[in-house]
């Protein structure tokens, strides 16, 4: 949670139990480097404590791309996939728990500023997700408890 990892194939990156958080994978099919960011909040400018850049969509996206470029990724080749951003609890009139949707929007906006676009997504709903990101193929498996598995 609130972490970013980058690595080169072969290997798998994973993040477990995403709720309102959003997992973002970025993969360069030529150099076979990939990164996985697990963001928790949309916007660092509203936060009092912003030491952890991986926590916020607006700071985690540039950080993810920079780190990939440092290990041989090329920005224009990156394939981006996102998953998560669920609303786990349906609390009446409580906007605090609509954070999932705002996270998804913020990730897309931050990517747009970097001239990147989302190629595939599995977002929203009211269930948790676990992601496995294969650095050889760029494929992302989304695992859930009651909604089966999905391949992105």
């Amino acid at each position: 949670m609130a972490q970013t990892e980058v690595a080169q194939a072969p290997g798998t990156l994973a993040t477990f139990g995403l709720g309102s958080c959003v997992g973002v994978t970025a993969w360069d099919p030529v150099s076979k480097v990939g990164g996985l960011a697990h963001i928790m909040l949309p916007d660092s400018t509203q936060a009092r404590s912003k030491d952890n850049v991986a926590k916020f969509a607006d700071t985690a996206m540039p950080d993810l791309i920079n780190r990939l470029e440092r290990i041989g990724g090329v920005r224009r080749r990156l394939v981006i996939k996102i998953a998560g951003g669920a609303k786990m609890f349906d609390l009446f009139n409580d906007d605090r728990f609509a954070i999932g949707r705002r996270n998804v929007e913020a990730v897309k906006q931050s990517l747009e500023k970097l001239n990147l676009r989302v190629a595939a997504e599995d977002t929203g709903g009211n269930f948790g997700r676990t992601l496995f990101f294969d650095l050889d193929t760029g494929k992302v498996i989304v695992r859930t408890i009651e909604h089966g598995e999905k391949l992105l």
């Binding site: 709720g19 009092r48 948790g128």
Partner: protein, 209 residues
């Protein structure tokens, strides 16, 4: 945010009384005594919270309440799916309709237990602080532990990289039934609570835990 040992002790004491209140009501509902473990007040980095709960993919039932008032926060009662069914069975006096799945009746029984536990804690906190705490109706979820927790922590995460958990564990008889009850004050709410408890001093005097 920094805490003194005295502050942690007071929070723990509030927790003990609150869980005592709750256990008494729960015992009369279940017709048996519920031993409670000494509550813990734990101050954890956000990244370690889920690990402390048994891992992000553990299948759990979570019942969540928002707390509004001058010291807002969140309450979440978490228990494994098997424990959830044992507890609802005790409350309803009927075996689970579908093992591994909860019926509407079972969900509402568990939500009621959460209301009772929350009432016990919030009453204790009110008595100590003279603040009012207003819980929202409970919301129910059955999913991965990590997924349930991260929505709760998102709110805390805006302000701090740490969360304070006032945790109580319940165990009942030979079934080894256990549940984890967490009161998670918002950082501002926590400040208010500590001030009202009369243990918050200036930052310079507090030693870091």
């Amino acid at each position: 945010m920094e805490f003194t040992q005295a502050e942690m002790d007071v929070l723990k004491e509030v927790g003990t009384i609150g869980s005592g209140n709750a256990a008494t009501v729960l015992a009369s509902m279940l017709g048996q005594r519920i031993p409670i473990t000494v509550p813990e007040a734990r101050f954890l980095p956000l990244s370690e919270v889920v690990t402390a709960l048994g891992g992000p993919e553990r299948e759990v039932v979570g019942i969540l309440l928002g707390v509004s008032g001058p010291a807002p926060g969140t309450i979440i009662f978490l228990l494994g799916i098997e424990d959830a069914q044992i507890l609802s069975q005790k409350l309803l006096g009927a075996p689970p309709e579908v093992p591994g799945q909860l019926s509407e009746m079972e969900k509402s029984a568990l939500s009621e237990v959460t209301n009772i536990l929350s009432g016990g804690y919030l009453n204790a906190l009110s008595q100590f602080t003279s603040l009012t705490f207003e819980p929202t109706p409970p919301a129910f979820a059955h999913d991965m532990a990590g997924a349930l927790i991260d929505a709760v922590l998102a709110e805390v995460g805006l302000v701090s990289d740490y969360a304070l958990f006032i945790e109580t564990n319940f165990t009942a008889d030979q079934d080894g039934l256990s549940g984890h009850f967490f009161l998670i004050p918002s950082p501002d709410g926590l400040e208010r609570i500590l001030q009202a408890l009369g243990v918050r001093r200036t930052w310079e005097n507090s030693s870091k835990i």
